[in-house]
């Protein structure tokens, strides 16, 4: 310290820094340079001039900054610009996905579309709607929810309230692994059991079985997290009053965590509503209204999108219907998601 004060030189704790507008100026200059080069060389691809501009930007930024501020600051600037590039790179496709679905989906989406089936409309003609698919989706998802929620919640109760030892560890591990089962494998399993061995035909309920396999682990995981949040003091107070353990769980633990469990179940429903592969293998899809989930092929929203796309023969009408159905599906899932989050916030432990 004393040495520094003895040497009379213009010292400051901060090194030289470039002004705040510097990166923007470099960005503008490199875009201009990229455009100029591509105009001069007659390049058409927008990727090319963007690439030239990007290289100019990173290079210019690094060069000037390294000269003025030092290498470490220059590296920091390069890292900052790369992080921004990553963000912009990801925004483009994701924004395009939402935009295209909205733009192309609203064309035929109206009351008629929601209340009519494809029964008398051939795939290449305009008209028709998704009524049969809505019925199918609601029934299949409803049945799957009916199967999975009791099993999932009870498993979570076992893991949190009773589970110690090897069985609980095994269940925890396999629930985790089950989360990652590809939907098509779940479909193949039910196919080999239900169709090939028990010799049953395609039906909505077979699809529901496969969807339950996908749904159970999600319900277990979220319910488990919620049950763990219930303070032990509540359980102890109830047990201290002589209430049996099962009534403690039913009357104290579950009501306390009900909001969280509902949120988890709704998110799980949102996840399985969009599943196509098991429905393709087990329910097949149809153009007609079939309200009986126990027998015969049934339609579902994701399956409808796939069939409209696959059987379109390149016709615009079928693509329009596919986009409209996709918009309906996304809207349904987003509403479920938002509602689930609203419940989570509303019921959050205070």
């Amino acid at each position: 310290m004393s040495h520094a004060s003895l040497t009379p030189r213009r010292s400051s704790l901060r090194g030289a820094t470039l002004p705040k507008w510097f990166p923007w100026a470099v960005a503008a200059a490199s875009v201009a340079l990229g455009l100029a080069v591509s105009a001069a060389a007659g390049l058409q691809s927008s990727i090319q001039w963007a690439l030239i501009a990007a290289v100019c930007f990173v290079g210019g930024n690094y060069g000037v900054s390294a000269r003025v501020e030092g290498r470490r600051q220059a590296k920091d600037r390069v890292a900052t610009s790369l992080v921004w590039v990553a963000f912009l790179l990801a925004v483009i496709p994701l924004a395009s996905l939402i935009w295209e679905t909205l733009k192309r989906g609203v064309k035929v989406l109206d009351g008629y579309f929601l209340s009519h089936s494809m029964g008398v409309v051939s795939d290449t003609e305009p008209g028709g709607g998704i009524y049969h698919a809505l019925i199918g989706t609601l029934e299949q998802v409803g049945l799957a929810t009916l199967f999975s929620v009791p099993v999932g919640v009870l498993t979570a109760i076992y893991l949190v309230e009773y589970g110690r030892g090897r069985l609980a560890k095994a269940v925890t591990f396999f629930v985790d692994v089950m989360t990652g089962i590809p939907s098509i494998v779940a479909g193949l399993f039910i196919l080999s059991l239900w169709v090939l061995i028990l010799d049953m035909g395609p039906s909505g309920i077979a699809g529901s079985f496969a969807l339950s396999i996908l749904m159970i682990p999600v319900v277990v995981r979220s319910t488990e997290e919620m049950l763990k949040l219930v303070p032990n003091e509540l359980r102890e107070a109830s047990l201290a009053l002589g209430v049996p353990k099962w009534r403690t769980i039913l009357k104290v633990v579950l009501p306390t965590s009900l909001g969280g469990i509902t949120t988890g179940v709704m998110l799980a429903i949102a996840r399985i509503t969009g599943e196509t592969a098991p429905v393709l293998l087990l329910v097949w899809g149809t153009n007609f209204i079939n309200t009986n989930p126990l027998s015969g092929p049934q339609a579902s929203l994701p399956m409808y999108i796939y069939l409209q796309y696959a059987n379109s023969g390149g016709e615009g009408a079928a693509y329009d219907r596919a986009w409209a159905a996709a918009l309906t599906l996304i809207a349904f899932i987003m509403i479920l998601n938002l509602a689930a989050r609203a419940i989570a916030r509303w019921k959050a432990p205070r």
Partner: protein
């Protein structure tokens, strides 16, 4: 639970013998027994389902494999309905691995970048909003990604394909003859977009858990923002990023409909990634299932079993990494 039973006994009436008696009787109350039975039964049901999946898939696969004349692992053919049936998974394994590798190569760096952007670069309000939107995007179903990929992404890739062919066509791996851009490369790009949200979400959570003191210590030593990230954030988050990537990989490996809609199926391996060709396990099952005979379905189930085992290994590894991290990280201290 030990603590609750202990408290239970403590709060019983003062005579210890009566308390012990009550506790013993409490354990055998019929309601308790039924409830324990139900919940333990559900847990066991989960195990049974997993075992049944493995057992039934193996059973059907063995039926198919016992009649298969070709080598299941190395054959390039897929003709399970022929006599004798000949089918192999070499093409599918190649396609699955290549498309997943492309997807991971694109998605992991970008996802880590976005996660860093949200946690360390963006203004707090903006970061929160972006995180929320990406959370929602993770819920978009794969069929919608498939529709978007086939109708919006594929036409836009012609420019990129032409450019790659112009400059890197000489390698042979990236040559393109001008057909529709429905190749393994496009599938890789689409899969990257699909797994981006999940990898971003998990990485973001991990980066957010970096102890504030670590970052402040680095800043106090005069580190720039990038040096803070390199020395404090990334080392702390490494295992989290790895497990997030493996979760994404698991999803990419098993993705069915989006791949089936984008890839034009040619059951063959091409040298160039930009030419139609190859296929993935899941896509092959979805697109061949309709025409398949019982033998054909069994052959598809055999390929599904391979996919099942692969995803089991990948996910299991991811979970083990997460579990190990939970024990040693300072985050839950």
């Amino acid at each position: 639970m030990d603590t609750t039973t202990a408290t239970h006994q403590q709060t019983e009436p003062p005579t210890p013998e009566a308390g012990a008696e009550r506790a013993a009787r409490g354990a055998t109350r019929p309601g308790d027994r039924i409830f324990l039975g139900l919940s333990r039964g559900s847990g066991i049901l989960v195990l049974i389902v997993m075992a049944a999946i493995a057992a039934f898939l193996t059973y059907r696969s063995v039926l198919a494999l016992s009649e298969n004349e070709a080598d299941f692992l190395t054959s390039f053919e897929w003709d399970p309905s022929g006599s004798p049936p000949r089918f192999g998974i070499a093409v599918l394994a190649f396609g699955t691995v290549v498309s997943s590798v492309i997807a991971m190569a694109i998605a992991v760096p970008v996802a880590v970048g976005i996660a860093l952007f949200i946690t360390h670069y963006a203004p707090r309000k903006l970061g929160g909003t972006i995180a929320y939107v990406i959370d929602l995007l993770a819920a978009v179903p794969s069929i919608v990604y498939g529709l978007w990929g086939a109708l919006a992404l594929v036409p836009h890739l012609n420019g990129l394909y032409g450019w790659l062919d112009d400059y890197f066509g000489w390698t042979g791996v990236l040559s393109w003859s001008g057909g529709p851009a429905r190749s393994l490369f496009t599938v890789g790009i689409l899969l990257a977009i699909m797994i981006l949200p999940i990898i971003t979400n998990v990485s973001r959570e991990v980066f957010r858990q970096v102890p504030r003191t670590h970052e402040e210590a680095a800043l106090a030593l005069g580190a720039t923002r990038w040096e803070v990230i390199r020395m404090a954030v990334l080392p702390f988050g490494r295992s989290g990023v790895i497990s997030a990537s493996m979760l994404g990989l698991g999803r990419a490996l098993g993705e069915t409909m989006a791949v089936a809609m984008v890839l034009s199926p040619v059951f063959d391996i091409r040298a160039s990634l930009l030419e139609p060709g190859g296929g993935t396990f899941a896509q092959n099952i979805a697109s061949k299932f309709n025409e398949a005979t019982v033998m054909g379905q069994d052959a598809l189930i055999a390929s599904g079993l391979v996919l099942f085992v692969i995803t089991l290994l990948v996910n299991g590894a991811a979970r083990l990494i997460i579990a190990r991290r939970k024990e040693y990280s300072g985050a839950n201290a």
